[in-house]
């Protein structure tokens, strides 16, 4: 996968936006200044035209005519480039005209009209004012005399100024970019440093170090706080799961050692010296028995692992609506041979069906594990009682033995994997201390509880409740 850098992207975005901003600023400034200058030029043109009109006066004759004071014409706006002017009276008779005059076509209607034109290789802007009254108005002069003044001036000064201005603004923008772009890059780099620190610290996490030390800067960064918290809680979860797995593995390996040691010693002692075929046969049968025990242990461990995995939600299952009683009956049926062998009675009492949503095999396994313990600890010719009932929310199964009871301090330990209350009793019947762990894992996977109650000399009761199917 192609990788990309947040820093590079952000820097690119900042540079591009600053560039766009500078370009925009440049054009806007140039446009407005240009307009501003043109407006000033036009005002100037109007002033010139008016001052030209002011040079028209009446002659000192009896029938005065309009005259023009040629010598009073102001100098051109731009040195070396002559301004052009033309004055007519209302009858269209030319009163005054600059030395040179091009043929112009200006919109005739408007009172004031501007026009641009090229003349003599020069750009000109012209203004024509109509109906300008003659200033030199005295008694006896015709009131109806109006002038039409046209004044044109080269626009090169404006164009030059605008060009110069453009250069200045562009230079300013480039200068500004030179300062702001490095500043932005530095700021971004600086701002992203806590993220890099956090990544460096996260890289230190390993199976021997589960502590994330995000560093003061990352802790003080608001944007990173949620990330840091998420990482920390994720690490805690992982650590817990990892430790659990490792403990299970260690326990399992430890528990496997004994059956393997037995199997190995059986084979080795068989091979110690030449033996008769009957002896070999007996030895091989012993090996088979040893292997059966090993197999049983492996099966139990896998069962436990699966139940816990399911409880952790990583295993999907199909569940059916079943009657709690039928699973108990099935379990009791399968435990009866053992009970019979030990001379123990099993009494079952129940009333009415209790619907639960479960896999019947799971529940049967739980009852079998609990019943096996109960039968083991119950002295011969006594009985184990199974009570199947319910409360409003739960189906409740109580399995009670009449054994010696479990000491108070051992009660919290009995569900621990590979825990054996008294190793000898468990070993006598080939237990590995996994039955109760499996029962608990399965019941908890169904959202139920399993509570042991014990009284010395009276017996132990296991009370299991699992949610009813409503």
């Amino acid at each position: 996968m192609r990788t990309h850098s947040i820093a590079q992207r952000l820097i690119a975005a900042v540079v591009v936006s600053q560039l766009l901003l500078a370009i925009g600023l440049f054009f806007v400034t140039v446009y407005f200044t240009h307009r501003q200058l043109l407006a000033a030029f036009d005002t100037e043109l109007e002033g010139r035209a008016m001052s030209i009109a002011a040079l028209v006066h009446y002659s000192e004759e009896e029938h005065p005519t309009l005259e023009f004071q040629q010598d009073m014409v102001p100098p051109s706006l731009e040195r070396g480039h002559a301004d052009l002017y033309q004055v007519f009276d209302q009858n269209g008779k030319a009163i005054a005209q600059s030395n040179k005059w091009p043929s112009l076509s200006l919109p005739p209607a408007a009172r004031a009209a501007y026009a641009n034109f090229e003349w003599n290789g020069e750009s000109y802007r012209a203004l024509r004012l109509k109906s300008v009254p003659v200033l030199d108005r005295e008694a006896g002069t015709p009131a109806s005399d109006f002038l039409t003044v046209t004044y044109a001036s080269p626009t090169s000064p404006v164009i030059r100024t605008v060009a110069r201005l453009r250069l200045y603004i562009a230079g300013g923008c480039v200068l500004l970019l030179c300062v702001t772009v490095p500043l932005a890059i530095w700021g971004l780099r600086r701002g992203l440093r806590p993220l890099e620190d956090l990544a460096a610290n996260a890289a230190l996490i390993s199976t021997s170090n589960w502590e994330l030390n995000p560093g003061a800067e990352a802790m003080a960064t608001r944007e990173l706080l949620s990330l840091t918290q998420a990482m920390t809680s994720m690490l805690q979860g992982l650590h817990r799961a990892f430790t659990q797995q490792r403990e299970f593995l260690a326990n399992a390996a430890h528990e496997l050692k004994t059956p393997v040691a037995i199997l190995k010693s059986t084979v080795q002692s068989l091979l110690q010296r030449p033996r008769s075929s009957e002896e070999y046969r007996a030895g091989l049968e012993q090996c088979l028995e040893d292997m059966a025990r090993l197999e049983k242990l492996l099966h139990s461990m896998l069962r436990l692992a699966r139940a816990e995995q399911w409880a952790a939600g990583s295993l999907q299952r199909d569940l059916a609506d079943i009657d709690l009683r039928s699973t108990c009956d099935a379990a009791v049926d399968s435990i009866r041979p053992l009970a019979h062998q030990r001379g123990v009675q099993i009494e079952v009492s129940s009333n009415g069906p209790i619907p639960v949503r479960a896999d019947p095999e799971d529940l049967e396994l739980v009852w079998i594990n609990l019943l096996e313990n109960a039968v083991r600890f119950t002295p011969p010719s006594s009985s184990v009682r199974v009570l199947v009932g319910s409360d409003p929310q739960h189906g409740v199964v109580e399995i009670a033995d009449s054994g010696p009871g479990i000491p108070e301090h051992e009660l919290p330990l009995i569900f621990e994997r590979f825990h054996r209350g008294d190793a000898s009793r468990a070993r006598d019947t080939g237990g590995y201390g996994l039955g109760l762990s499996i029962a608990k894992a399965v019941i908890e996977a169904y959202g139920g509880t399993i509570i042991p109650k014990s009284e010395a000399g009276v017996g132990t009761r296991m009370i299991v409740s699992i949610p009813k199917q409503s």
Partner: protein, 222 residues
């Protein structure tokens, strides 16, 4: 030599016992819980105790501490399923002499047992020598002047026990206690039979090896 095995896995205990009886010629008693083990260890003179740690009623560690506090002198070999350094150190400090991790090799267990017994009796070599007699404890054979001497199993056991304590007076009762396990009927006159058999096979001419001290016992000395 007589060995006590305290191990709650019956099958494992029986396999080890069989292997020690057949491969080392030891008398072996088995106990399947700590209480029985302590009782047996307190009331019988063993040459070696093989002790599992995870045993019911009285755990191996406590048993060991109790025995050592009673000044029991025989070596103790621990069988353990744990092999962490700390627990091994703690065990040795509690008075254990050696340990083996499950699943162990029976051959190794036997070799270690022999070495522990040897050391417990102040010997170092696996081949015991008295005069020109060599007793190889590794393969249970005896040579005199380099030539193999055919001995019965019981004769070998008597000789091996005496050879572990050369120059010491060993009573008939001591021999009986160390050569037979708990379930055996003991008759002291059988010892005399084995001694005379040994004398016939090992002594030539005037060289006396096994001396009888009237009313006290026997002594192996060149």
């Amino acid at each position: 030599m007589r060995v006590l095995i305290v191990e709650d896995e019956r099958r494992l205990a029986e396999n080890v016992a069989r292997s020690l009886r057949e491969g080392a010629g030891y008398a072996v008693d088995c106990c399947f819980n700590g209480e029985d083990g302590l009782y047996m260890a307190e009331n019988n003179p063993y040459d070696l105790l093989i002790l599992d740690l995870m045993i019911p009623k009285l755990d191996g560690r406590t048993l060991l501490t109790r025995l050592r506090s009673q000044a029991a002198r025989f070596p103790v070999l621990i069988l353990t399923a744990r092999d962490e350094k700390e627990s091994v150190v703690a065990l040795l400090n509690a008075g254990a002499d050696d340990y083996l991790c499950k699943p162990f090799d029976l051959g190794e267990l036997m070799a270690r047992s022999k070495a522990l017994i040897r050391r417990g009796k102040g010997q170092t070599a696996a081949v015991l020598k008295v005069a020109d007699i060599e007793i190889s404890t590794a393969d249970l054979t005896v040579r005199r002047g380099g030539k193999p001497v055919p001995l019965t199993a019981m004769e070998y056991r008597v000789l091996e026990y005496l050879a572990h304590r050369p120059g010491a007076v060993v009573s008939k009762t001591e021999l009986l206690e160390h050569l037979y396990d708990f379930n055996w009927e003991r008759f002291s006159n059988v010892i005399e039979v084995y001694i005379s058999g040994l004398r016939r096979k090992l002594e030539h001419g005037d060289t006396k090896l096994i001396h009888t001290l009237r009313g006290q016992g026997y002594m192996l000395r060149a």
